[in-house]
Symmetry: C2
Subunit: 150 residues, 2 copies
Amino acid sequence: MSVYLEDLAVGQAYESGTFAVTADGIKTFAQEFDPQPFHLDEEAAKGTIFAGLAASGWYTASLTMRLLVTGHLHIAGGLVGAGVEEIRWPRPVRPGDVLRARSEVVSVRTSQSKPDRGIVQLRTTTLNQDEQVVQIMIANLIVPRRPAAP
Amino acid sequence: MSVYLEDLAVGQAYESGTFAVTADGIKTFAQEFDPQPFHLDEEAAKGTIFAGLAASGWYTASLTMRLLVTGHLHIAGGLVGAGVEEIRWPRPVRPGDVLRARSEVVSVRTSQSKPDRGIVQLRTTTLNQDEQVVQIMIANLIVPRRPAAP
C-alpha cells in the first residue's frame, strides 16, 4: 500500500531488511567511485587511518538507500530526496558486516508553494550486526498528499 | 605534493576534471542501490516527478566523490570524511550530462582532542555542461597536521 503525506506522523518507525557487505563489494565500489588505498586493498589499508580495509562512506550511504528502497516504507511516487541535512559515519563498515537501516519520522509539513505535496524529514540509522551505528543520516523526502476522491 | 592542514586556508578553490554520464551508468547504479522506475527505465520514468530518466542523487554524490579523489586536491592521508553537513540536488542529472566539481575551503580548524589533525570544511558544487548546479555538498574532512621536522 502506498503511503501519502496524511499517513505519516512524527515518531513512526520503519526497519529494513539486511545486506551482507563483502570485501569484493567494498573494492568494486571504491574502484569506480572512491579509489583510495584504504577502500581498495587490505595490505595498503593497514598503515592508514582506518587500520584495515573499510568501505567508502558513499558505499555505506548507497547501501542504506538500497535498504530503504527495498524496505517497508512505500511512499506514493517513490523515495525522492529533497536533500540531506546531515550524514555521520561514527565507525567504518568492514567486510563481513551485515547492515540494516532503522528510520524514524522527525517532522511532517505541507509545502507552501506546492499544495499537492509535503516534506517529511526522516532520520535513518544504519547498524551493523553488533548493533553498532555505522551511519546516521537526516534527509528530507518529497511526499505527495493523498488525491481527493473523485 | 600532499597537502597538510597548514597548507589550507579559507577561500582556496579547486576544480576537478570531468565525467560524462550515460543512461547505462545511471541504470547500473540504480539496479544495485536505488531501484526505482525513474532511475531504471526511460519509459517508466516519463510519468514520474522526474519526467524522464534521472540519476539517483547517490549516483551524483558518488560521482562527485570520484571527481574529488581523482582531482587536484591531494590531502595527506587521503580524502577522509568526518561527515556531511548538507547535500542539495537542485536539478537532476540526465544521460549525456558532463559533470565537474568545484570545491572551496569554508573553514579550517585544529582538533581539540587530537592535536595531530584538524577538520576542514569544504563546499563542493557539482555542475553540468551548461554550468547548471546539480549538487551542493558541504562536508568535513579530517586533515593531518604537518609532522614536525626530525
